[in-house]
Symmetry: C2
Subunit: 134 residues, 2 copies
């Protein structure tokens, strides 16, 4: 178990950094099909959702809710999907995905559906700017 936090290389490769919050590193999934944030606790050695230490649970939950509110405010959303899966990347990370009945995967979950569509550089820059301002 590593003693300091470091982001799993696959999460790093698939996302943009939005911000570091009190407990979580907030990432934007580089897939323009879905408005999709990923929260990674900035603590080493966590795998499952219930591994979050008791003293950090409320701040983590508040950050998950905050990510939902930001996405909802920014893009609207018919439904938010919130999930800690980690079958591919064992480091604990929570997906917060804004879903629409017209999106590329609805009503199925987004994971493993089709191929990610990377943001155009200007679109990523604009979206990251907007998310950071919130």
């Amino acid at each position: 178990m590593p003693e300091t936090f470091s982001l799993h290389e696959r999460l790093a490769a698939d996302t943009f950094l939005v911000a570091d919050w009190t407990y979580s590193r907030v990432l934007l999934m580089n897939d323009a099909r879905f408005p999709w944030l990923v929260l990674v606790p900035r603590a080493p050695g966590l795998r499952d959702f219930d591994d979050v230490p008791q003293a950090r649970k409320s701040v983590f939950l508040e950050e998950i809710d905050r990510a939902s509110r930001i996405l909802r405010a920014h893009v609207g959303a018919e439904k938010m999907n919130v999930a800690a899966l980690g079958n591919m990347v064992p480091q604990l990370h929570v997906h917060v995905v804004a879903r629409f009945a017209a999106d590329a995967a609805w009503p199925a979950p987004v994971w493993g559906v089709g191929t990610a569509v990377p943001y155009a550089p200007e679109a990523a820059k604009a979206l990251l700017g907007a998310l950071r301002a919130m």
Copy 2:
């Protein structure tokens, strides 16, 4: 928005009742391929994970963690998947699924994979008894 809690008919049809906890109704998904609990807040009008009232968040989170611990203790698990999706059933419900690298969907999520395999009646009875005892 209904004023009293009632379980969505699809959740009722797909599951067995395990127990009512302080905040959640605990259900066992009737799919023998995956050890899979579903927690439904016993409160009306909730859709998204961040709809849980502030005063109930900590008890709900504790119940989610408890469901993870029970499944892990009962069946072992290489990974727990915890997710609030609700694209099909809008009533807020949280899936807690014990995953194994040899299971029928790994490493993909379980939703929408193949067809549910109902428990044999005796197997369901035994599993429900064991879960209730925990």
